[in-house]
Symmetry: C2
Subunit: 295 residues, 2 copies
């Protein structure tokens, strides 16, 4: 099946980037978002990131934006002719359930539905949809135009042709498609990243070294462009706090509580990472300094 | 105290690089190694690695080698005037114990003794020495001239002036010194690396994806110059096999046995990583293709 009409549902950090990337590669893209103004601000914020990452020759922000044909909170109108809906709403099972239950009756019969969820696997979400054969996960990385990998994995009932359609689509939007042989929490890119970040935060929480020293050591020793605390700033402290709090509940290991206790006062002070302007590092040109923006 | 006469004991992968780097920075270096021919081969192998990593302007292999004044298996003669002995013998507690018990009576009274051990902490080894105040760990990274960080940490009795002497020495050999506030297994560079590599190997052992796919995904998504299986090839499968086998014994977690079972047939076939010419990748120009070299 040829995918022509693409809808991105939820224009957060990744959703807005996916919409932009598909538009940049010639797809006519529609965005559904509960708050139209926030989606517009997210899309506007891409310009600086994209132009910093890419050479001028590699792309034209304005030309890409011309292919975003609508930004709307009208779900029915937005998905009416969709061949592919990419769900990128908040990482909450209630919000995702609510979205799927509302959107499915509105979708064309053959529409493929995917989730960009970072923390769930397809089998966690497929029960909220009406189309297990046409439901899969397609997971992207931040700065999608540069870190251009699309992780694709179905639930046990996903039609292999749908996986192939998604592989073809991923290539069309200049992604390197990676099809997982099995469902996996964290896919491939995050499964090793989470224990890396946890171990780095444990060094900090245990008083072995401070975050900047740990980053410096890691970057020099491994030739990595980013240290673990720079990555934490990008991930955002709210997400990390939720993850470590959850890990403490599940494992009872004191180290997760120690990490959460170190993060809490920073979050309370509104220092939640790159987008707030202050995390482990300072970002004077952050786009979203208003702490109410995320509430 | 000014460090002038430096001895490297054990010219394995790292030991030979430390000796070379100190020589390159103007120190007159003596090497003690049980097998003189192996030390010579290790030093010869550095030439290609060093010249590949560095610009011609950044250093001259032959000039550096001129500062290596002796390679000997005569311990007494080698350490007789040492200000600093850097122990880099095999990563076995028996071998290290034997070395310390033999070398300590031969050292000048004020000689500083350090270990480059990756897996032990200073408190594990200090009891084998006669000088807790003058014993600390100074840990380096592979390709020392490029990944130029020196992790420094004492045991509870280490004289703070000795730590300062080691910081000064690290700077003199063009390292970025990182002093840990506490003893830590894996220091800073390896503490987060081990769980990262374990998680990547778990993806492989659980059949989620093959090593090359995992590396590709990780490298694109995180902008890293090396994937986890490329790092495994550098670490070497024998080391990894020992680590995961030990982790299985300690934790009883089946995943470590699964990983060990995947590595075993590769090791048995002589495919142990970069130096053997074959690991997860093929290295046609490997220096040490003779599998007996490491025995």
């Amino acid at each position: 099946m040829e995918i022509k009409h693409v809808v991105i549902a939820g224009a957060g950090v990744l959703g807005s980037q996916i919409a932009f990337q598909a538009a940049r590669c010639g797809f006519k893209v529609k965005i559904w978002n509960r708050h139209i103004d926030r989606a517009e601000r997210r899309l506007a914020a891409i310009k600086a990131q994209f132009e910093k990452d890419m050479n001028a020759n590699d792309g034209d922000y304005d030309a890409a934006m011309d292919n975003i044909v609508s930004i709307s909170n009208d779900m029915e109108k937005t998905v009416a002719d969709a061949d592919l809906v990419i769900e990128s709403v908040s990482e909450s099972v209630e919000i995702k359930k609510d979205f799927y239950e509302k959107v499915c009756p509105l979708l064309p019969e053959n529409c493929i539905l995917t989730s960009n969820s970072s923390t769930f696997i397809p089998s966690d979400l497929v029960g909220f949809t009406d189309r297990p054969e046409r439901f899969a996960h397609m997971h992207f990385s931040n700065h999608i135009w540069k870190h251009n990998v699309a992780e694709i994995v179905g639930n046990p009932k996903t039609d292999p042709e749908v996986i192939q359609d998604l592989v073809d689509f991923a290539r069309q939007i200049k992604m390197v498609p990676v099809v997982l042989k099995k469902e996996q929490h964290g896919y491939i890119m995050n499964a090793p990243l989470v224990p890396l970040l946890n171990a780095a935060m444990a060094l900090w929480a245990n008083g072995v070294a401070d975050p900047h020293t740990i980053d410096k050591d890691w970057m020099i020793a491994n030739g990595s462009p980013l240290g673990p605390f720079m990555i934490q700033d990008i991930v955002g402290f709210r997400t990390t706090y939720a993850v470590v709090t959850n890990q403490y509940k599940q494992t009872g290991q004191e180290i997760f509580k120690k990490i959460a206790d170190k993060l809490k006062p920073m979050i309370d002070a509104g220092h939640t990472g790159v987008e707030s302007g202050q995390g482990f590092y300072h970002y004077p040109n952050a786009e979203f300094k208003d702490p109410n923006f995320f509430k």
